[in-house]
């Protein structure tokens, strides 16, 4: 039996398309529909109620939530991109033995060796009022009273993000850099380019896809996170994802649905924007 190429392509996409439609699109449509309904005590009534949307789109709360998460995102991105770039540069161009390179790359994954909840709990003995950092600073005479902003603060949230997400930046950048032909660098050196010129003219442009992919990881991780921010801020910081979690815990589905749709649109828009800087297909092919 002969199948036309057209039919064959349809058959090939069918399994994934089925999963995507039934597990993603249909639930999304339901969530979108629910966001327009009235609700009370874990019930959703089939009556149109637009306040979930007017609140999501026009309240001071929404502005505060996105300003907070936007601040976390920018700080985290700047630091992880900076650290990730230079670590990758060091690993790819200065570490000669590939065994050592792999070992060092694996070492960057150490934060993931322990489960999330335990990792979060263990910040307290480190950063707490009577934690190691405060004790060390006090015994060195740097401070007289313990620093309280080390924990349950924006600082603590960003620190945890950097701790976890630097790897998400390091990986893709290392991958991009590793693909840069050595002959290109050598040619530049032969022409008398300084190391800094090589970095600026060759490595940064060619590492851009890695930076873009790393950025996608950071954007989705920070915007979607509610656990780290909850633990590290001591529940005292509210982000869009936390607001959704609070509403779900109160069984208030329509406002949670409106906020979720809104967050989804923003994340998708950011990712779409970032994808303009990188050809994912090309990255996967090479």
């Amino acid at each position: 039996m002969k199948i036309s190429p057209r039919a064959a392509s349809w058959l090939q996409v069918a399994p994934m398309a089925t999963v995507f439609v039934t597990m993603v699109l249909v639930p999304l449509c339901i969530i979108f529909a629910v966001s327009f309904l009235d609700y009370d005590f874990a019930r959703v009534f089939p009556e149109i109620y637009l306040a979930s949307w007017s609140d999501a789109l026009g309240s001071r709360l929404t502005l505060d939530l996105y300003l907070t998460v936007g601040r976390f995102l920018i700080i985290t991105w700047v630091i992880t991109a900076f650290v990730g770039f230079w670590l990758a540069y060091f690993l790819v161009f200065h570490v000669r033995s590939s065994a050592i390179r792999l070992t060092l790359l694996a070492a960057a994954a150490i934060p993931f060796w322990t489960p999330g909840p335990i990792r979060m709990v263990s910040w307290v003995p480190l950063l707490g009022r009577e934690g190691l950092v405060n004790k060390a600073l006090m015994s060195l005479g740097v401070i007289d009273t313990p620093l309280t902003w080390l924990l349950y603060s924006d600082f603590a949230v960003v620190l945890a993000y950097i701790n976890l997400l630097t790897l998400a930046m390091l990986g893709p950048i290392t991958h991009s850099m590793a693909k840069i032909p050595r002959s290109l660098i050598q040619a530049a050196q032969d022409q008398g380019a300084s190391e800094w010129q090589i970095i600026r003219e060759i490595i940064v442009p060619l590492a851009k896809p890695g930076i873009a992919i790393g950025t996608i990881f950071i954007v989705t991780a920070v915007l979607g996170d509610f656990f780290i921010v909850k633990i590290m801020s001591g529940g005292q910081t509210n982000t869009p994802a936390n607001a959704i979690a609070t509403e779900l815990a109160a069984f208030q589905y329509p406002p949670a649905a409106a906020k979720s749709v809104m967050l989804l649109v923003i994340v998708v828009a950011l990712v779409a924007l970032l994808l303009r800087f990188v050809d994912i297909r090309k990255e996967l092919r090479d």
Partner: protein, 435 residues
């Protein structure tokens, strides 16, 4: 509507239970549940019955499941929901996967008129006459009515009738559920770091402890606690701080935002472990806590007291109920299991964690005199007090903070709550968290 009708149980099943119950009673039934003589036919089928009890880690304890399976002729399978949200969601969306559950009475508004939970005829529950009057009559032991601020137990203890469509403040023959646990919560205190007595909820917002207090992260506990403090300070007056009006919610949240911006709160806690860690690590000197969490702090060698405040304790209550899809023998076994749960052994087990059981008389027989004296009667311990797993909780010569059952449960200032204006409160709580 179809759901609604389901709550009305076939009469045959109800009267069947009655007959068996009276047979059991005549069999001199004061012994353990396992000793009950059962009719032959019943005994043969019962082995195949499995009762699925879905609760949270504080109720679905493996030791209790083991003992239940030892005592009862049918199988009990306990399943632990990771948190209240998933438990309630499962009850609301897949009630048929559950036979028996236990939730706090403040969750009852999610189930009102949905036909999910089974009303229990008082005749099917053996221990109602011996149950403390907090639940049966809505009073303290001395007959005085208790505070109705918040979700007082009597507000969702009786249904007006078998249709389970409305709650009754007056006793009826239809119970919403079987009372399991209850307790009187108050502020946990680090006396070594504070150095003076703490006797009022107002201290929670005292600037002296700025940056060193924590609040429970939620509108059902954290808000009533904060309201107790605001009222005690004279900053707020409420008609019913357990069920605020929108204006009262606004005023309360606005005040709390001021405190939060001034850095008054060190952290908010959402679970047992966090509250223990905050207190034991010295991050926090003063916070609302659960009794077992205070004990846990103490077993780590850190001083922590838990005395009552002059405005009273914050009370709470968890009850057990069967799910309404149950029929015939399965239903009878579920009822049997609920009766077993309060027959003493399980009650004694949870009492050793610092909670109270609703039938103290049954618990008394399962505890040593020393244990019962310490946990329930406010007596000085005569030897080591062990937790259910054999760990030493207190040495000899210690009196429980706050005293005996009625010293603590007899002085409730507010109950955990789910306010009528929950939707508005959660929205304003978001503002507070974002501030």
């Amino acid at each position: 509507m179809a759901d609604h009708i389901k709550t009305a149980k076939p009469k045959a099943a109800a009267s069947g239970a009655l007959n068996r119950r009276s047979v059991l009673k005549s069999g001199a039934a004061a012994v353990a549940a396992s000793a009950f003589p059962a009719p032959m036919l019943w005994a043969q089928n019962i082995k195949d019955i499995k009762i699925v009890h879905v609760g949270q880690s504080y109720s679905t304890i493996p030791n209790i499941a083991e003992k239940a399976n030892e005592d009862l002729d049918f199988t009990v399978e306990m399943q632990t929901a990771p948190d209240l949200t998933s438990q309630i969601n499962r009850l609301l969306t897949q009630p048929k996967s559950i036979d028996v559950t236990d939730v706090s009475n403040t969750s009852m508004k999610y189930f009102t008129n949905r036909g999910i939970l089974m009303p229990l005829n008082v005749k099917d529950y053996k221990w109602w006459d011996k149950t403390v009057p907090l639940f049966t009559k809505g009073t303290y032991e001395n007959g005085e009515p208790y505070s109705m601020q918040g979700f007082a137990p009597i507000k969702a203890q009786y249904y007006t009738d078998e249709t389970a469509s409305a709650y009754s403040l007056e006793p009826t023959e239809w119970l919403v559920g079987v009372p399991l646990y209850y307790n009187a919560d108050t502020l946990g205190i680090r006396p070594d770091l504070i150095g003076r007595p703490i006797e009022s909820w107002a201290e929670l917002l005292n600037s002296e402890f700025s940056g060193k207090v924590a609040l429970q992260d939620g509108v059902n506990v954290g808000v009533p606690d904060a309201a107790m403090a605001l009222e005690a300070m004279g900053d707020m007056t409420y008609v019913d701080k357990g069920n605020m009006t929108r204006a009262e919610i606004d005023a309360t949240i606005d005040k709390l935002i001021e405190y939060k911006r001034a850095g008054h709160f060190r952290s908010f806690w959402t679970n047992f472990d966090q509250s223990v860690q905050l207190m034991a690590s010295g991050e926090v000197l003063l916070q609302s806590m659960w009794s077992p969490a205070v004990t846990e702090v103490r077993t780590r060698g850190v001083e922590c007291t838990y005395n009552g405040m002059k405005e009273g304790y914050r009370g709470w209550y968890i009850m057990m109920m069967a799910v309404s899809h149950l029929e015939g023998l399965q239903r009878e076994c579920a009822i049997e299991y609920m009766n077993w749960f309060n027959s003493g052994w399980a009650g004694a087990f949870i009492s050793r964690q610092g909670f109270y059981n609703s039938v103290p008389e049954n618990v008394k027989g399962e505890m040593t005199e020393n244990e019962y004296g310490y946990w329930y009667e406010g007596k000085k311990s005569t030897s080591d007090i062990l937790n259910p797993f054999g760990k030493v909780m207190e040495k000899a010569g210690v009196i429980r903070d706050g005293g005996g059952l009625w010293d603590r449960m007899g002085n409730i200032g507010i109950w955990n709550t789910l306010m009528d204006e929950d939707r508005y409160l959660v929205r304003r709580w978001q503002d507070f968290l974002a501030a």
